[in-house]
């Protein structure tokens, strides 16, 4: 048995973690193995039992089961083709305004966000549908790419989001309350994005020429029918899922199951359901889940030994020592999250950092729900800040060479949104009610 002081333990565990993750070995294996090895050195054979208990605890956490269900719901929505018809409808309605298509992109991102919950799906869909449409009409590449990346990333924030399903159990908070708390901040960001696009296009019309009137000409009745038919089903699905959580009728896992069933029925209604499609969505779900839970289990082993060895106190002392009182400490936490988000996958950050950070938030006397929302909104940045920016990767995956969009265009395109998210965070600091009003109104 080796005695490690908490300080040494912190440095060793995080040093090894960062080192081995950066050479590209799977995150879940690195987390689990470091936890196991360090734990075995400190605790001896009892550590083996801890590994099993943590694994068993992770896979029998009922709330986590909402994760596969929401992913299935999103994948079925994707296969229903609703986003294509929605974009077509908004294209007719908003195309006449300067920057209308970019605003339509963000709006669809927002709506998809509410049913998808995984950003890979929404960025890819927008990249395939909206990107070519905007470029064809002479939109600037930066503007188009920025709208797709930022709009698509909203999926992880606006409920039902998979990120929150993981955040809840990690911080001992109700997932239902967190869902409600994320609602207004999510729409606030969406509104900020749309306003930004509208202002930019007003100031510099060349960025986004309006779509010609001939192209948009369509009888009013047909136009309206198109919008209603593409907008109503997903809207209904969202309201049913979130409404049942809000009214206290269903736990998130139950709401997720009902939502998944509804999305399958929606595919049926759009005549897009086939056995092959359903199976591919199921296999896609299994794939994301297998990937995510490798990290969940690894992180559970890692954090249990880190907490047992007193590492949390070291991190806490470090953060409390920041100048400027509790807001100084808070700024430090936000900064650490931002930096981590640039390099590490959000799932690793949530699963490793939240068990350590959430108690610090409470010690600093912040409302846990508000504190969680700040971290989650902050993690929005992690999708668009290079070098590790998933939204950018996924968009690149959908681009065709003849579009002539390179990484430089995309990065310049997303830069303003980093500023917009920071504005959003500042608003939430000034007006905490943005996050706290809705959960306070919840029944039960």
């Amino acid at each position: 048995m080796i005695e490690l002081s908490p300080e040494v333990l912190t440095v060793v565990m995080f040093g090894l973690l960062i080192g081995f993750v950066l050479v590209g070995y799977p995150l879940g294996f690195v987390l689990g193995a470091i936890g196991l090895i360090i734990g075995f050195l400190m605790e001896g054979p009892p550590m083996l039992n801890i590994v099993y208990l943590r694994l068993y605890g992770a896979i029998t956490t009922y709330t986590f089961l909402a994760c596969p269900l929401f992913i299935l719901m999103g994948l079925m929505m994707e296969r229903s083709g609703v986003s294509d018809s929605l974009f077509e409808a908004l294209h007719i309605w908003l195309g006449g305004f300067r920057g209308g298509l970019a605003i339509a992109t963000v709006l669809i991102g927002t709506l998809l966000a509410a049913c998808v919950g995984v950003i890979a799906a929404s960025v890819t869909m927008l990249g395939l549908i909206a990107m070519p449409a905007m470029l064809d009409r002479g939109y600037s590449k930066e503007l188009a790419a920025g709208a797709v990346c930022a709009g698509g990333s909203l999926g992880i924030l606006i409920p039902p989001s998979v990120m929150i399903v993981f955040y809840g159990p990690m911080a001992n908070l109700s997932v239902g309350k967190l869902f409600m708390a994320a609602f207004i901040p999510g729409f606030m960001l969406s509104a900020l994005y749309c306003t930004y696009i509208a202002v930019m296009c007003f100031l510099r019309p060349k960025l986004a020429p309006s779509v010609s009137a001939e192209e948009r000409r369509m009888p009013f009745l047909k136009k309206t029918r198109m919008l209603v038919f593409s907008l109503f089903p997903p809207l209904f699905l969202i309201l049913a899922v979130l409404g049942s959580i809000f009214m206290g009728v269903a736990a998130p896992t139950e709401a997720a199951a009902v939502g998944a069933l509804a999305s399958i029925l929606m595919c049926l209604a759009y005549r897009k359901l086939s056995f092959a499609k359903l199976w591919s969505a199921l296999v896609g779900t299994a794939r994301v889940v297998g990937m995510a839970f490798t990290v969940v289990i690894g992180a559970a082993i890692f954090t249990s030994i880190f907490i047992k060895g007193g590492g949390t106190d070291v991190v806490k002392d470090l953060i409390l020592a920041a100048p400027g009182g509790r807001w100084g400490s808070f700024a430090l936490i936000m900064f650490i999250t931002l930096i981590l988000g640039m390099f590490i996958d959000w799932i690793g950050i949530i699963l490793v950092m939240i068990p350590i950070m959430a108690p610090i938030g409470i010690a600093l006397n912040f409302d846990p729900i508000w504190f969680g929302m700040m971290l989650i909104v902050n993690l929005q940045l992690s999708f668009i800040t290079p070098p590790l920016a998933y939204a950018i990767f996924f968009l690149q995956g959908t681009l065709k060479p003849e579009m002539g969009v390179n990484t430089g265009h995309i990065i310049r395109g997303v830069l303003p949104y980093i500023g917009l998210i920071c504005i959003g965070l500042a608003l939430m600091v000034r007006f905490p009610q943005i996050a706290l009003w809705l959960p306070g109104k919840m029944i039960r």
């Binding site: 993750v21 879940g28 009922y62 986590f64 779900t285 297998g290």
Partner: protein, 172 residues
């Protein structure tokens, strides 16, 4: 070599189909939960089996596909540096870390879950989280089965990498 090839093709066949078949549990879980919700609100009569069945199905769905994901190299990793490695360096990193991290972790979990499943079967352990109290040992047995698949697939992936390393990057 012939034996190794046969091993790899068989294990990869199992991994592929384990993932595809287990994926149907997602649909099963949709039904076990929605039926319970339906009965509760329409007939005011919640099922007593839904909770237990759901966490057992769900738990299986969470870990069974890991072998499938491993085969498809789908695990979360940070490839900023990795992309810049030469193919040889990348192979060495993977082989070394498989020995250092992957096998110890997975074998410990396999061993611990197998002993737990064995003792659970001996005493015919029952679930005690709900009122229904179904047998728990099938779920306990599922865990070592899932990890056996992961270890088998891990050996196959490891063998591919070692072969490739010894034969100048050629695929097995």
């Amino acid at each position: 070599m012939k034996f190794l090839r046969a091993y790899i093709s068989r294990v990869e066949y199992i991994s592929e189909w384990s993932g595809r078949i287990v994926s149907f549990l997602g649909l099963a879980m949709v039904f076990t939960i929605t039926i319970d919700v339906f009965l509760r609100y329409v007939f005011n009569e919640p099922t007593k089996w839904s909770y237990d069945i759901t966490y057992m199905i769900g738990g299986t769905l969470l870990i069974m596909p890991m072998a499938y994901v491993l085969m498809h190299k789908g695990h979360v990793s940070i490839d900023i540096l990795y992309r810049k490695f030469s193919p040889r360096t990348a192979l060495i990193v993977n082989v070394v870390l498989d020995v250092l991290f992957f096998f110890p972790l997975m074998l410990v979990i396999l061993y611990m879950s197998a002993t737990r499943a064995y003792s659970s079967t001996l005493v015919r352990e029952f679930s005690n989280v709900g009122f229904w109290r179904p047998p728990l040992y099938p779920f306990r047995i599922m865990i070592p089965v899932a990890y056996l698949l992961i270890v088998l697939q891990g050996i196959a992936s490891f063998a591919r990498n070692v072969y490739s390393l010894g034969h100048g990057g050629k695929e097995l």
